[in-house]
């Protein structure tokens, strides 16, 4: 079985990395008027949308891992 501490550490690091990536400016369009729209409500809505996606997916992943842990505990007691 995969080391759980290792797994949770790397999953957390990956999610934080993705969230930080979203917080960076949109470099590809830095020169245009819309490209400078990196602050304000629209920007935070994009950030929130991407954060919601990965937090919900992470939540589902955690629920699956917890169910697997319960199965392992039941196996351990038999």
């Amino acid at each position: 079985m995969m080391d759980r501490k290792w797994f949770s550490r790397w999953t957390t690091a990956l999610v934080l990395g993705v969230l930080l990536l979203q917080a960076s400016p949109v470099w590809a369009q830095a020169g245009t008027v819309l490209g400078r729209q990196t602050l304000g409500r629209a920007y935070w809505h994009v950030f929130a949308a991407y954060a919601i996606v990965w937090l919900l997916v992470l939540g589902w992943l955690i629920s699956i891992v917890r169910r697997l842990r319960r199965v392992e505990e039941r196996l351990g007691t038999e």
């Binding site: 990956l14 993705v18 990536l21 979203q22 960076s24 949109v26 470099w27 590809a28 369009q29 245009t32 819309l34 490209g35 729209q37 990196t38 409500r41 629209a42 920007y43 809505h45 994009v46 929130a48 949308a49 991407y50 919601i52 996606v53 919900l56 997916v57 939540g59 589902w60 992943l61 699956i64 169910r67 697997l68 199965v71 039941r74 196996l75 038999e78």
Partner: protein, 237 residues
């Protein structure tokens, strides 16, 4: 598929899914141009559309597995339907939450009771009902059959959601990917980004669906072992 093959598939699909998600974020935030009328908020499109794609795929799977479960009575199909329904709920929730974040900036309102949004919300409630019906009966087998019926009826909402923007007066933007007249009506880089988004979400869904299905299988085996008389003696022997 045996357990070893399922574990291998979960690992490969999961690794490919994470890699594709990272590529998607790189494309969305560093490569694809900003849409000219909506600005940066249009970037929500690259996760909103794939989320709905997965929601529809998952609910299609629920209906298919439920129909065959009612016909053959194979427990594995019920477990697959439950795994798909969980995924469907997660990705429908994502679609319902990311849409208003776009709508607040584009329309000036979080929510409108217009046909597509209303039908999408109804879909979420139908599948909430799927889980409630499963747990509402004293006899679990009866609950599974009732839920299978809900799963089959619920999927009928999906074509209605799809055609609602063309058949009814709707605020929601027209279809750009599955448009009948002009499919994939997008700039090249935007088309490439949404394609990577669809692939990333599909890989993530496939790995988590298999993982959930496998865990359901282990739980079922343990329940059977616990229920069978003399199981403890058998385990100790």
């Amino acid at each position: 598929m045996n357990q070893k093959q399922i574990r291998w598939a979960i690992g490969v699909l999961g690794a490919l899914g994470v890699a594709t998600v990272l590529v998607l974020h790189g494309m969305v935030f560093f490569w694809v141009p900003t849409e000219s009328t909506m600005g940066i908020v249009q970037r929500i499109f690259y996760i909103h559309v794939p989320a709905w794609w997965i929601a529809f795929l998952a609910f299609g799977l629920v209906a298919l597995c439920s129909a065959v479960y009612l016909w053959l009575g194979d427990e594995r199909l019920d477990r697959a339907a439950v795994a798909a329904a969980e995924a469907g709920m997660i990705f429908t929730t994502i679609g319902l939450l990311t849409g208003p974040l776009w709508g607040r900036v584009a329309w000036g309102t979080w929510w409108e009771w217009e046909p597509r949004l209303t039908l999408a919300l109804i879909l979420w409630f139908i599948y909430l009902g799927y889980f409630l019906v499963r747990r509402s009966t004293v006899n679990p087998e009866q609950g599974k059959r009732f839920a299978a019926v809900v799963g089959i009826i619920g999927v009928l909402d999906i074509p209605l959601i799809h055609v609602s923007v063309t058949w009814l007066r709707s605020l929601h933007p027209q279809a750009v990917i599955l448009s009948a007249e002009n499919p994939m009506n997008l700039d090249g880089s935007m088309g490439a980004t949404i394609s990577v988004g669809l692939l990333a979400f599909t890989l993530v869904f496939a790995s988590l669906f298999l993982a959930r299905y496998a865990v359901g299988g282990y739980e079922h085996e343990l329940d059977l072992r616990d229920a069978s008389p003399g199981s403890i003696q058998g385990a100790e022997a």
